[in-house]
């Protein structure tokens, strides 16, 4: 039977990571945190049109993987994909611009918050229909396998995604073909408003199902950037070495609601209190200080991150609206939308 490996870097004692790596992780989660807070503010100012799903509280997962991945590895994310997009080095301005529906947005306003994509950064897309990107990630991994490039595809899904057919079909196929793909389930305890425990037949929706595909059962503290980073390094290396796919369950929690307007009233106060006490940014900051990194360094990173967000904000707001004519471009490879002759 598959063993369950639970990884937290506290558990594994004091971190073996060098300072520059740890500061890189800190910078990454801080940038994501500030970015998402800004996105939320812009929504409250009614500048973000449509919906958006923030990674507030879940930054450590995106950061840990972002740092561990090779530049040519592929990312596949859900509609909750801002942090995963930034994690690949996609500049903040165009991302924020897309949220604001500007011509200067990452997708020029065609896709919006739920579909962030930057092929140039091997961020192969954000997918808004639950589970749909799981076989797509397998396909990218298959292509890397046959092309012999040693690239790995990393696919992020939620806990609710573990109950849809695509989860099953994708993991079976990935396992049979030993595909270089790492599936990461960000278990934030909720679908939209329904607790995952209410609709799932096992306590750990991803980890308890790994054995159904002959895979190891893996759980990591999704609020601990170092634990995620180390787990990512190990699993990416295995995939690159041709040892097949992994399914990782990262335990985490949303700071806020499911999407823009959701006040998340359905979550018990106790639970919220307990999890907010485990906030990845606050706690990592504390740990770094305890480990002797001086506060000025962190404050400097925070300053720089905030400046970066301010700059992106200004850039995004300054972006022009898309030309209406672009509505009819890029349906087809000829650049247009003509379907008849």
């Amino acid at each position: 039977m598959a063993r369950t490996e639970t990884a937290t870097s506290e558990a594994t004692g004091r971190s073996g990571l060098d300072e520059s790596t740890r500061l890189a992780l800190f910078r990454s989660i801080v940038e994501m945190r500030y970015f998402e807070e800004r996105a939320h503010r812009l929504f409250l100012d009614n500048l973000v049109k449509g919906t958006s799903h923030l990674s507030l509280g879940q930054e450590a997962i995106a950061a840990g993987f972002g740092l561990a991945m090779r530049p040519d590895d592929y990312t596949f994310a859900t509609y909750r994909g801002h942090a995963h997009t930034l994690a690949r080095g996609v500049p903040m301005g165009p991302v924020l611009g897309e949220l604001l529906g500007r011509k200067t947005g990452l997708l020029h306003g065609k896709g919006g918050s739920m579909h962030l994509t930057s092929v140039e950064h091997n961020m192969m897309g954000s997918y808004a229909i639950v589970g749909a990107h799981m076989p797509v990630a397998a396909g990218a991994a298959w292509s890397a396998q046959v092309r012999g490039t040693e690239q790995v595809a990393v696919c992020f899904v939620g806990d609710g995604t573990t109950n849809i057919g695509n989860f099953h079909e994708s993991l079976n196929l990935a396992a049979v073909w030993k595909l270089p793909v790492v599936y990461v389930c960000e278990n934030n305890l909720y679908m939209e408003y329904t607790p995952i425990s209410k609709v799932t037949s096992v306590p750990n929706p991803a980890a308890d199902r790994a054995s159904a595909y002959g895979l190891e059962s893996l759980i990591v503290d999704g609020n601990d950037p170092e634990a995620v980073y180390e787990m990512a390094l190990e699993r990416l290396a295995r995939a690159r070495a041709g040892e097949g796919p992994s399914l990782i369950e990262a335990k985490t929690y949303r700071k806020g609601g499911h999407s823009r307007a959701d006040p998340a009233k359905y979550r018990p106060e106790e639970e919220v209190k307990e999890w907010l006490a485990r906030d990845p940014v606050d706690n990592y900051r504390k740990r770094l200080l305890e480990s002797g990194i001086d506060e000025a360094t962190l404050v400097e990173i925070e300053k720089e991150s905030l400046a970066k967000v301010d700059e992106a904000d200004a850039e995004a707001r300054a972006g022009p609206l898309p030309d209406v004519s672009s509505m009819e471009t890029n349906v087809w490879s000829d650049g247009g939308s003509a379907w008849r002759r």
Partner: protein, 325 residues
Amino acid sequence: MAEMTYRTAIAAGIAQEMERDPTVYLIGEDVGEPGGVFKATEGLYERFGPDRVRDMPISEEAIIGLAMGAAMTGLRPIAEIMFSDFVATCWDMIANQVAKTRYMTDGQIGLPMVIRTANGGGLRFGAQHSQAVENWAMAIPGLKVVAPSNPIDVIGLTAAAVRDPDPVVFLDSKPLYSLKADIPDGEVVDELGVAKVRREGTDLTIVALASTVPKAVEAADILDREYGISAEVIDPRSLIPLDMTTILESVRRTSRMFTVEENPRVLGWGAEIASIVAEEAFFELEDPIVRITTPHIPLPQADVLEDAALPSVDRVVETVRKTLG
């Protein structure tokens, strides 16, 4: 008399039927305790309890299959698919299983069930959460298809759909959720397959559905006021069964037909109506049949682009004027 929005009418219609018939159950993602992600099923869980109003996992195929199995064994389930775009994730269950079972068993199995889903664009949700898919369902033999354009119809047609012995795809219109109307007291029950003339006219007939009905009526008022053109506006309300009698009678009288469709252009619902008219009222037509639709593109997300893609009042006015020269 009570004022209701389209949104609250959805829960009111379901409540009316659940109250009347204990075999009516509601299942779907977040429809219960949360009251629906659009708050369209609010209060039902509190009123009818966890047994009859059930939150489902993200398992669309299971949601439809569950309703189908229950419908063939004595229940009258209402299964919600959160966004109509997601019917694609369970299209086999809807188009190959639910739709064909009565025919394949030559009537042994009937499926009194309703598949309700939030349809349509204009909310900046992007290409995978904004589609108008009424034409997908219309093309499948064995499915009835309903798309109400106002709160009263939402209640009356919900009643008709729940009471119908055949499977009904009930598409409520997201962009109309805040539309208000006065609802008469007491039970509201309507009928499938009966079109409504929303505005009488003599020069041309506009057929509109769900979100495009208010736009067509507004366009007709402008055409009348500003250009002295008298447009009749017909709302079929259900695409299957389709009330061609009312449409053909009108077109024969006005000798001109336009459709205003939210679905993408190619094989939108208007193509069927236009084809029927081109065959059966051909000799009464004075002008070409013109379909006003969303272009044949996925929907863009940015507000300026989405607004340009969806049929607008102006586009209807301009198209009619150009055609009548």
